[in-house]
Symmetry: C2
Subunit: 270 residues, 2 copies
Amino acid sequence: MPIDVIRVDDPADPRLADFVGLTDVALRRRREPEEGMFLAEGEKVVLRAVAAGFRPRAAFLEERWLPGLADALAAAGAPAYVAAPEVLEQVTGYVVHRGALVAMERRPLPEPAELLASSRRLAVLEDVVDHTNLGAVFRSAAALGVDGVLLTPRCADPLYRRSVKVSMGAVFSVPYARAASWPECFDEVTGAGFRLLALTPAPDAVALPDLVPAERDALLLGTEGDGLSARALAAADLRVQIPMEGGIDSLNVAAAAAVAFYALRYAVRQ
Amino acid sequence: MPIDVIRVDDPADPRLADFVGLTDVALRRRREPEEGMFLAEGEKVVLRAVAAGFRPRAAFLEERWLPGLADALAAAGAPAYVAAPEVLEQVTGYVVHRGALVAMERRPLPEPAELLASSRRLAVLEDVVDHTNLGAVFRSAAALGVDGVLLTPRCADPLYRRSVKVSMGAVFSVPYARAASWPECFDEVTGAGFRLLALTPAPDAVALPDLVPAERDALLLGTEGDGLSARALAAADLRVQIPMEGGIDSLNVAAAAAVAFYALRYAVRQ
């Protein structure tokens, strides 16, 4: 199928609707799920989304990025709106350093039960609302052998542009599901045979280096500010802490996740 | 000493010079070291800087943050410029969520030789230019038992506002030095009796879980984009990799640092 290349120079062109106002986080967070789309930015991330089976529906890019994306767009029958960098900036609201944006179709998420059945090591994220942290957790999960991610209802959207970018595309490859209700979702995890581990800075929790991995572990991670809720801590089978020094009482949630994923996968105390 | 409280409503007030144009990264990166100052933002971070012995030279804040900072400012004889949130925004260029900025005096950094002599576990950062990553590495270093950080000449400034904030003040408590020359600094590290470990995604490097810590280890971390330079890799005694799966070839440098610091401090393979 030949690719449909359309040159645009009017930032108000209605065919660019998918790409308008990308710096308005509140708007995009509402619109993108409603419209069943998300945005992948930069050739590498776009090609990872396509490789993971996501379907492009339109591209908005500088001419020089067309060759690398042409096959993927042609295969999906997606039009390529080619424009100058200034037009990209006017439409999106920012300087598109990576020069290419592709609007992709969302796919239905698996049910939590399905995710639980197919995972051995699981991350359960409670109300992680920061897109950067969420993306970083997915990147570490993919690298360090976590099979799936369960999100509580209030977690941010892994397919939001910033999460996608920070995850380096890991949000496409690590299966995830969104729980329908909180805190009932925790019982669902333990009911599926997981040991539910709550990562907490509490000094009386089991030290991570002393933790012996179980057959099926689910690692519960909370928000940066408040940490895990009392309900999450109560639902856990075991509370686990990363030993810390230097008067520091917590790590960034993405750093803590990476350390805990690594420990579950590879390591015990010397 | 009573505190000198000055109410300001003119954003052009010349006494606010320390706080002008904070969103102009290029300007601030030049000005702050030249003028021997840096900015701490928010009560918690300011008090950590003061606790670490840094001296406030002026505060620019909303009224409601004055009580928590008054003692620290009074002890240093630093004036408090009190203003409405709109004035803070006009001067700084952004909405100051934490409501309080304090300009602090820099102190001379230790010489690398001094840092090397007083450290057992060291992080050596090669050209880490991203302030967020730099701050996150310091936070993990403080929490996970790294005694000092050596920066190559091109690394970003740990006292830049964003680094300070992301580090949660760890840039005040973890000693660091800046090497005068690259790549000679690597020889200085090994000359001081450290085993120099290069963290790399190279699959033929020693797997981190198999690494047995030495008496004195220096962990060499590179930039996100290109990783360590060939010179850094050549200077290292040993190349070490975090084993990765899922088609992911690297972690974010802050996540990789946290995992490696943890492994050096606590863990070997199961």
